[in-house]
């Protein structure tokens, strides 16, 4: 079980499954109602709701795969680390010289002679080439371990450790991050839940380019603590502001249509025309005993399937006002009037009222869409990213190379040369190194009575 959990095979299976699920998540619209899926995916809606694929990235299936992947990396690293330290310390499984690839044999012979006769000269040449060299001698046996680029050996472990930290940070974010949307019009103050201070929007401005498109939104806000302004700061898109663990962002802007002020033109029986300004919810007296009330304002008027008025968007595409008129407290008129279609009033009730109304102007206060966010998982994610990236650099740009040779009388020499990335390149480097070997007397003492490979 542990072996399977730490295996590369499981990692490959999990990677493939996570890729497949992620792709499904981008193709299947997320966060829709059950009705939506029944409508558009009639055959699959059972599967979608059963596996909770309407919010796939938080579904039990996806989260358990992610969790299994986390376990996989952790177990894999636990298995790898001791092996790596063993390798670093030079506790290596030697291959007998005879069983090595052909181009190995010349190197094996050359280096074992060199080590046997002139160990110091070999060590010096290796050090010149930035190897760490360790030579041990015990009873006639000489062992040399030389290596360089050790960060390359541990690069993958750093990558995997970074990944573990990132996933843990992500889990912390998923459970503990907080976002508070704040829609403020100028002068408005809101309290922040769980905090002792409140936020006031002092000024909201929109900059434009010469061609009229939006260049920037800026909110000047004040942090108010017990009636006192603690700090005042301008927030822009891409320039958040941090206060007491909360980050404030400029997210959007829009019109607060619920506080629209409209101007009506009212023409009465006698042909007299007058203009009247009224705000949503407000009641005004237009004649003795006659009151007008602006019940509602919709910037983009439309009808839903049941024929009920709805707002299709927050844009002023088809502005409409719902007007109620009462005489002596009795409603005599109720209906929508339209800015773009003055002759198409949509009245629900109309008695003997001889007023003609039209919607001349409308004006809603601008609000600034801010968001206050706190996320304790963020710093672990940055830390993990840094570790992961450094690990990648170490994996790919430090090539761990190790040369190990062991010679003893009347034994075959043992030889090992390994490079994580570029085996043939390493052999070539060693061949060049061999050329700088000082001349060694032929028929050296060590050779007597022993066979040396490939000579």
């Amino acid at each position: 079980m542990i072996r399977f959990l730490s295996s590369l095979r499981l990692a490959i299976i999990l990677l493939i499954l996570i890729i497949i699920l992620s792709i499904i998540g981008t193709l299947l619209p997320q966060g829709e109602t059950p009705g939506f899926y029944q409508n558009y995916f009639p055959h699959w809606s059972g599967v979608i709701s059963g596996l909770q694929f309407d919010h796939l990235y938080r579904s039990p299936l996806f989260l358990s795969l992610a969790f299994l992947f986390l376990l996989n990396i952790i177990f894999c690293s636990i298995k790898q680390l001791p092996l790596k330290f063993k390798q670093l310390k030079g506790q290596i499984e030697f291959l007998p010289a005879g069983g090595q690839p052909v181009n190995h044999k010349k190197l094996a012979a050359g280096f074992s002679d060199w080590l046997w006769l002139l160990p110091n000269s070999l060590a010096e040449e290796l050090r010149k080439r930035h190897y760490q060299v360790n030579i041990k001698e015990s009873g006639g046996r000489k062992t040399l371990v030389a290596q360089k680029g050790w960060p390359g050996l541990f690069g993958p472990e750093f990558v995997h450790a970074g990944l573990i930290i990132i996933i843990i940070g992500g889990l912390i974010s998923a459970f503990f991050s907080q976002r508070i949307p704040l829609a403020l019009t100028e002068g408005q103050t809101v309290d922040l839940p769980g905090k002792s201070f409140s936020v006031r929007l002092d000024r909201f401005t929109t900059d434009h380019y010469p061609d009229g498109s939006v260049k920037n939104w800026k909110s000047l806000i004040s942090i108010i603590d017990r009636g006192q302004v603690k700090e005042q700061k301008t927030i822009e898109v891409n320039r958040p502001f941090k206060y007491d663990g909360l980050n404030f962002f400029q997210m959007s802007y829009g019109f607060d249509w619920d506080r629209t002020k409209v101007e009506l033109e009212i023409k009465d029986r006698s042909g007299m025309v007058r203009n009247l300004g009224v705000t949503v919810g407000e009641r005004v007296q237009i004649e003795p005993e006659i009151n007008l009330r602006l019940l509602n304002f919709i910037p983009d008027f439309g009808l839903d399937e049941k024929g009920q008025p709805v707002g299709r968007s927050a844009e002023a595409n088809n502005p409409a006002a719902l007007i109620q008129i009462s005489r002596n407290g009795m409603p005599v008129y109720l209906g929508w009037i339209f800015y773009d279609h003055p002759d198409q009033a949509r009245a629900y009730r109309q008695s003997d009222l001889n007023l003609e109304m039209s919607l001349k102007k409308f004006e809603a206060p601008l609000f600034s869409g801010l968001e206050a966010a706190s996320d304790p998982g963020m710093n672990p994610v940055w830390l993990g990213s840094a570790v992961l990236f450094l690990g990648l650099l170490a994996s790919f740009y430090f090539n761990f190379c190790q040369l190990a040779v062991r010679v003893e009388p009347s034994e075959r020499p043992l030889f090992l040369a390994s490079s994580r990335h570029h085996q043939t390149g390493f052999y070539q480097e060693l061949e060049r190194l061999l050329e700088s070997r000082p001349a060694i007397a032929k028929n050296s003492a060590r050779k007597k009575g022993r066979e040396t490979p490939d000579e």
């Binding site: 490959i12 992620s22 981008t26 991050s177 260049k215 966010a373 940055w382 990648l392």
Partner: protein
């Protein structure tokens, strides 16, 4: 010189690079490879000048819409091909890489991509735009080289008459693909994922939101993680890893084009 003249000049030169590269196939020991290489350097300098002119004229980074991004990706690919030629000697593979460059330049020059300069929307006004996009596209340029090398790997036959020669070529393509991924993967990780998360956290207040563009970058990244790990399992080198490098780059292309045109999300600027 204005941008479009420089751009056209570099297009023509890249075309000549490709022609002279293929010309080197005919006859041994000819001068074509050298000519081709120096043409490539000069084309690269001219295209760099065109990017510089556009940056100065527009006053913002030269990768804020489709035209600019593909142009910058092409420029990055040229840079990477030249680096690989200098480091590893691409030999017979050289002109095939330029085939891709010429195709990309044709796309860039075509009227399909509007070339007018538009002002930056507020969300893009950040130095993170420079870091995020330039590093990501540079990383993708390396991945593109791995893609082409992998295609060459798969299309180089075993041809019995020249078996050892072809084996040698294939080993080289496999090696080039791996080295390209080894350079492209860290850059893509840094640019797309790390810088992307940092920028998202500054602009939107969250570093990750499972937005389709984010998910597709992750999918691309996971494919290359798959590429690296399958190579560690014996027997997966060669054909299978070439296939994964190809699919991985197709995922990168989908992140680049498909998400913008087919799936809607926050990242709809480019």
């Amino acid at each position: 010189m204005n941008e479009s003249a420089l751009q056209l000049a570099s297009f023509i030169i890249y075309f000549l690079v490709m022609l002279s590269g293929f010309a080197s196939f005919f006859g041994s020991k000819n001068k074509w490879p050298v000519i081709s290489y120096y043409l490539a350097i000069s084309g690269f300098i001219i295209q760099s000048a065109s990017l510089l002119v556009r940056t100065l004229v527009s006053g913002h980074a030269p990768f804020t819409n489709m035209y600019e991004s593909i142009n910058f990706l092409t420029w990055s690919c040229v840079l990477v091909i030249i680096i690989f030629e200098r480091k590893f000697k691409l030999d017979k593979a050289w002109p095939y890489f330029w085939l891709i460059i010429v195709a990309l330049m044709a796309l860039v020059s075509s009227p399909v991509l509007p070339k007018n300069i538009t002002p930056l929307v507020p969300a893009l006004q950040s130095y993170w735009l420079w870091l995020h996009v330039s590093v990501t596209l540079l990383g993708e340029a390396f991945l593109a080289v791995a893609f082409v090398a992998s295609i060459l790997y798969l299309t180089t036959g075993h041809g019995s008459s020249r078996k050892t020669e072809n084996e040698k070529k294939k080993n080289k393509y496999d090696f080039i693909a791996y080295r390209a991924v080894a350079a492209g993967f860290p850059l893509f990780t840094l640019g797309a994922l790390v810088f992307g998360m940092i920028w998202a956290s500054r602009a939107w207040g969250r570093y990750w939101g499972w937005d389709p563009k984010e998910v597709w970058s992750l999918i691309t990244w996971l494919f290359y993680a798959l590429y690296l790990h399958t190579r560690l399992v014996s027997g997966w080198k060669g054909k299978k890893s070439a296939l994964i490098a190809i699919i991985g780059f197709l995922a990168a292309l989908f992140t680049f084009f498909g998400v913008n045109y087919l799936i809607s999300g926050l990242h709809t600027y480019v």
